[in-house]
Point group: C2
Chain length 207, copies 2
């Protein structure tokens, strides 16, 4: 990436639903369990795949013959937040793809590596008070050879500027906390929860 | 809760940004790292607390003298998804509250229990490709007495219908997978990621 400058937000303006290309607002009218009519406002992505799931995120493990297992995180400027986020590679599922096909494709595009799928989660709700968006967490393994120690080329879409960082799995939680302590970064919630789960299992004494 | 019927969605209609009360659409104009002007469409909550964080979720541990440590999950109908979601208790932070005050309040309202805060996470991004919404994961402990085996009253807001279920921490991942296998339920992504992190730490052999 030819990085000339820090990204800068120029303006944030109201957008009408009819002008929006990617996201719309909807009003859901429903009857609740007691028979009471209610309504709820939601944000809806205009892109949806035929699979019924919007997105995939790749929980990835890099296995190297002589180094500890590690995971590749991606760092990108996220205009909704106005900061760089730390996330696992992720992307929207194309219309005619399965979630697992999207996971292989997006992993290759964002990290440069071909991963092997270990496990694909049920569809889960991204932020169920706000949106109908769903995703699958696809766990992937990348087997490295002894000589693999460089970052292969990414195949990013036009306008995508994604930095990669490799973190030993045993250091994931601590590394996220260090990023979070810097004002220019914010951790993506789902990755943080995974790391918090690992940290809890290892350190809490409860489990 | 007087549950007479299953909730039912009657209609989903376009909502204009000017009519919406809780959510709006915004267009962010920004300049990226290469100096290229770009734009991004985002969903924004109209409610924001002075703390700069939108919401809290309570990762809770119930400790009992003679039972294994457990966590209380909440099940509620979520109109954006059209299903019942399985989540940790959570809520929006009121305007003049700290995140930690909101965590204590919401925990009491949704579970009926007063929790003690063990840890409060950095603000993390709820769904950073779609929205500016942020939250903190507040880990809480509730110390039960030998005789505590019933569910105390909740203090729900009008219209809130939330069921509670207590799950031993060691069974969290398997129990979530059982819910996910039923069409009427969907797991909230962040809770799933935490459980997946615990499961990964315990079973993957990588860490």
């Amino acid at each position: 990436m030819s990085k000339k400058q820090e990204p800068k937000i120029l303006s944030v303006t109201d957008l009408s639903t009819s002008e929006a290309k990617w996201v719309s607002l909807k009003k859901v009218e429903f009857v609740d369990q007691t028979g009471t009519p209610r309504s709820w406002e939601i944000a809806v992505r205009k892109t949806t795949s035929k699979s019924g799931v919007d997105a995939v995120a790749m929980g990835n493990i890099f296995v190297h013959p002589s180094k500890p297992p590690a995971t590749m995180l991606v760092i990108q400027y996220r205009p909704p937040i106005g900061k760089y986020t730390i996330e696992w590679p992720a992307g929207l599922i194309d219309e005619h793809e399965t979630p697992e096909e999207a996971a292989i494709r997006e992993m290759k595009e964002e990290t440069g590596y071909k991963g092997k799928i270990l496990d694909s989660s049920p569809a889960v709700a991204s932020d169920p008070g706000l949106t109908n968006a769903t995703l699958k967490l696809v766990m992937m393994e990348v087997q490295l050879k002894e000589e693999d120690d460089i970052m292969p080329d990414q195949k990013l879409d036009e306008g995508e500027l994604i930095e990669r960082v490799m973190v030993p799995l045993s250091e994931l939680y601590d590394r996220l906390m260090k990023y979070a302590a810097q004002d220019k970064y914010m951790i993506a919630g789902k990755l943080f929860y995974f790391a918090a789960g690992v940290h809890f299992a290892k350190n809490s004494g409860y489990i």
